[in-house]
Symmetry: C2
Subunit: 138 residues, 2 copies
DNA sequence: CAGTATCCTTGCGGATACTG
DNA sequence: CAGTATCCGCAAGGATACTG
């Protein structure tokens, strides 16, 4: 995409966002930067319906607390569905919602783009850190 | 995109990410959830090179501190370029880098997707909050 | 004008221990 | 098994005041 049409389409996309939508946008997209959110979305997208413990096993390093919390946030935003079987030996399964699949679909080109530019990011980092020994960025 | 090909392409995209890349991915995408980052990227994308104060004027509600900090982070990640004219009356301009334009380009479909699903997100929220009066999610 | 410095509150992420 | 409860350190975001 050339810059003129890029700018035009970004204006169109941004003008369609009200002030309320702006907050919503950041809340939804905050999952992108979260430690576990997208990993869980990916796991559920690839494997379908999974039990709590099974997700935990696939997310290397996650603690019970963070797993539960992240699942709650995803559920709250409607990205995953929670099925509690109400059995005495607890049994809860999670599944991507339609919107959750949509998010996964949106993320794929983004991941590809990050990979394609990984070296540029790393170079920018080291160049910045060299110029700004340890001041700045706090 | 149907689910089978969605899953296949997400696996391809995710397998291409090493453990290191995974951290990088979250760092880059964390801008998506930040309060001011994408607003600044958008402003610079639409208007080209801008002075510090001019950006501040366009970002309703930003404080000096957050503006400077966010600009530093964007600069550190190579998304924007900083031009200090070294004049006695300070004069600093910022501009999107090539990578920064790339990010803006990546974000546009994402914004559109959020708008298209805004009602679903809001409904999920209120439904969740009704079921979970004030427990959960902390 | 383009920042720093200081103080504050909130939430993220994690460690550990406990429960029905 | 699927969570809570309690603790911690750190960073995000903001309010306010100051500086070359």
């Amino acid at each position: 995409m050339d810059r003129k049409s890029l700018i035009a389409s970004s204006q169109a996309a941004c003008d369609a966002l009200s002030a309320d939508d702006d907050g919503l946008k950041r809340e939804v997209l905050s999952h992108a930067g979260n430690r576990w959110s997208l990993g869980i979305v990916y796991a559920l997208g690839v494997s379908g319906r999974l039990r709590h413990a099974e997700i935990g096993r696939r997310m290397e390093g996650v603690t019970q607390r963070m797993l539960t919390r992240t699942l709650r946030q995803l559920e709250r935003d409607g990205l995953i569905l929670r099925y509690d079987y109400q059995e005495k030996a607890p049994r809860v399964e999670y599944e991507l919602s339609e919107v959750g699949f949509g998010l996964l679909e949106q993320m794929i080109p983004l991941w590809g783009w990050v990979i394609d530019n990984a070296n540029e990011f790393r170079q920018a980092r080291t160049a910045f850190d060299k110029i700004n020994p340890q001041q700045r960025v706090e």
